[in-house]
Symmetry: C2
Subunit: 453 residues, 2 copies
């Protein structure tokens, strides 16, 4: 075992303790009441980048700050690797469904439960520790390293692209590595070939001037709750396809090899349904479950709010209704075009008697991996060495909008290698991360770094 | 002017002050946190029935108590009149839309603004004051009087019918008078010919075991928010009719005279739309606005709740979705049959991959007035004397489920005469009552009492 891996091995207890401190900070970027916590997480990270041997800096933005950690010791002739992650987390609600507090990391059955353990503070911190292992033992790395951590990934990364553009020279790199995704399965480490994009909207339907008595006004007055339901129902046809005109125009066809590769992966539909506690799956007809998750677009309700939602019966005809509705996009759809299509659709389907407003809350383009054989091979070997099993190629249904921007703005190739496990409750109560994967993953990254000279 | 009316006239200031004290008690029957307030309202009313010259009693039920006030001085040969009202009120939410606090009666522009001012504490208290005027001046009434006030009208009156059944002998009467409705318009007092019934449900759709990440699971997993929208959209056809099979089977046809009478009432659609701030009206094709309000059934969303409804974007695939949906019924529909029809409908339209539960929260039968010429004439004359304008016959879109029960259990005829004005924000923020109508209404009731010997 190399010095680097010995160092990792003998420091795993300390690494975990530090990571849990990081997870204790409720850096919920979506909520203004947590602004202080979010900044505290940035400062904590900067301190620990310095302790790992990198030069930290905190960069203000109109929102939450960007944290950089740089090590330029490999010199001008060596390649540069940018490691991206985010230190902000999703809101933990509904709180009552957590079995242990979301911001108190709790170990149970080989897992650590905490908001941000998988998405993404835990995975980001694994990189910091793998860098530390090299810098504290060999005292060097075969590449110049830049860690870039933002605090707004969960709210749309509005200030990250401007930051990257302003600092394009400083951030110039050959490779961008991101660990903000899953392995294919326990014991099956993987590298991503694609990400879906996102177009996230709030649909606001307005009816009469105020809430009204449903008996005294029900009948002639158009109900914004019913109108909203009609609008949402119109987004799908009977085959589960998105029924917005033009929506599939930019959906790229995947070649037979890609679809065969997806279909070759072991996937147990019954176990999947059992885990989710559903009797049936749904979605677009004619595609397998993995295809529906990775290479087909969707339209999902994320939230609904209208009228009286408390205890008991209130006979109110609501004055307004709201839905949060998002579309997952696949290459080469864009959120800009989808917004235009949805706007045109709303004009067609919104009943007379109410008005509708479409507000864009979040957007990101889908991504498809460039073929960079050397990078893929290094990643595959590192994963195989650490996990003792060959790495597989997989898609990812979620979105990391910045990937496309990094590749475009920094002229780099992205490598997406994640260590969370399927079912880890991302964006849901009881988010968790496997302690075994945490330990093997730090080793895998340390090995990978050794191959990126 | 009679002594009775002089008494009313010279005591109006005190009557208002007392009524405002009554309105200050937040007797919100739907919320357990207000149980103490609701009881306090019952006790306050009992005290003031005693002060008016009636014998009060408070009767426990499994829920909020029933308050009785009795005066039996007219003797066994005289008729008995039961005056029904309710001392509970709707929840005041959304609080931020009230221009003055809901439980601090505030006079503006000839109106008093307060929750319960129109529905129904204000109107109930007008009867108490009209009774007081007779008992404090003449010292008598031409009939035996029973005031019956419940505290659960806004939550379905579950304990009232059992109370009436248990006390049928004590409550035996010839006439039931209820003031819990509107006049047709300012200066146009009215008597009701019908009420709509109600079948109020909560629809609970359950999907996967918990909220999920909409990127990692969106596609194959059926979304309960989308499923709920599909279910609600299925409740109407393109002509605005309720599309639940069998729903219209029990809808009685109205004769030409009744429809002509409705169509003869002055109704300005443009003013109605302007007041409601809507560009268009909707609802069932082929019926006028008043017909849609009074003699046609409806299906309205009263509330929707699903997923993330806070600030910003949360990419969640919700585990469940809830709607409160109610149907207004017309003779001879019943909530029991409508529930069965809706259950059958849900079986047909609910997508595979989610489960649905229908919970009945509230129900009441519709009512059509019996023809009782003497009673109608007394009411018409009293209203005309007090308001200086002839009384009109009108329907009412809201529901007072107990009316049918009173008529059946007590073998009485109901007279429904209301003093609120259209647009008084019943069940909505900024509920109000006209101070002029409050004063004229007490006079009208005092005159009416004089005619009921």
């Amino acid at each position: 075992m190399s010095d680097v891996l010995s160092f990792v091995d003998s420091n795993l207890g300390r690494f975990r303790a530090e990571m849990y401190d990081f997870l204790r900070i409720p850096s919920v970027s979506a909520k203004a009441e947590h602004n202080g916590d979010t900044r505290r997480a940035a400062e904590w990270l900067a301190d620990h980048l310095r302790a790992a041997g990198l030069e930290p800096s905190i960069h203000e933005t109109p929102g939450h700050p960007v944290v950089l950690g740089e090590w330029r010791g490999a010199g001008a002739g060596a390649p540069t690797v940018l490691i991206y992650g985010h230190y902000d987390v999703q809101p933990p609600e509904p709180l009552e469904e957590w079995e242990s507090p979301p911001f108190e990391p709790t170990e149970r059955d080989g897992r650590v439960y905490a908001r941000g353990s998988a998405d993404d503070k835990g995975q980001l911190y694994m990189h910091v520790k793998a860098l530390e292992a090299h810098l504290r033992t060999a005292g060097t790395l075969p590449f110049n390293a830049v860690v870039l951590a933002e605090g707004e990934e969960e709210v749309g990364s509005a200030n990250l692209v401007p930051f990257v553009e302003r600092n394009a020279e400083r951030l110039a790199c050959d490779t961008v590595i991101i660990s903000d995704s899953n392995m294919y399965a326990e014991g099956m480490p993987s590298v991503l070939f694609s990400l879906r994009g996102l177009a996230y909207f709030e649909i606001r339907v307005k009816g009469a001037r105020s809430d009204l008595h449903s008996g005294q006004f029900g009948g002639p007055v158009v109900n914004p709750g019913n109108a909203l339901a009609k609008i949402i129902a119109s987004f799908h046809d009977a085959d589960g396809k998105v029924a917005v005109a033009g929506f599939y125009d930019d959906v790229a066809e995947w070649d037979v090899e890609a679809r065969d590769q997806i279909r070759s992966l072991p996937f147990n539909v019954d176990a999947y349904k059992k885990d989710l506690q559903v009797a049936e799956l749904g979605g677009e007809k004619g595609w397998t479950t993995l295809e529906k998750l990775w290479i087909r677009p969707t339209c999902d309700v994320n939230g609904l709010l209208c009228g009286y939602t408390g205890e008991g019966a209130k006979t109110v005809l609501p004055g307004k209704a709201m839905a949060k509705v998002s579309f997952r996009l696949v290459p080469t759809q864009t959120p800009e075009k989808v917004k235009k299509l949805v706007e045109a659709h709303l004009k067609k389907v919104t009943p007379a008697g109410v008005t509708v407003e479409l507000v864009e809350l979040h957007g990101g383009r889908p991504w498809k991996a460039k073929v960079d054989a050397r990078l893929l091979e290094a990643a595959s070997k590192a994963l195989e060495e650490a996990y003792g099993a060959p790495a597989v190629l997989q898609g990812e249904g979620g979105s990391i909008p910045i990937v496309v921007d990094f590749e475009e703005k920094l002229k780099a190739s992205a490598l997406l290698v994640g260590f969370a496990l399927p079912g880890c409750n991302l964006h849901a109560p009881n988010e968790w991360f496997s302690i075994d994967s945490l330990e093997k993953g730090i080793g895998a990254l340390a090995i990978l770094y050794g191959k990126l000279g």
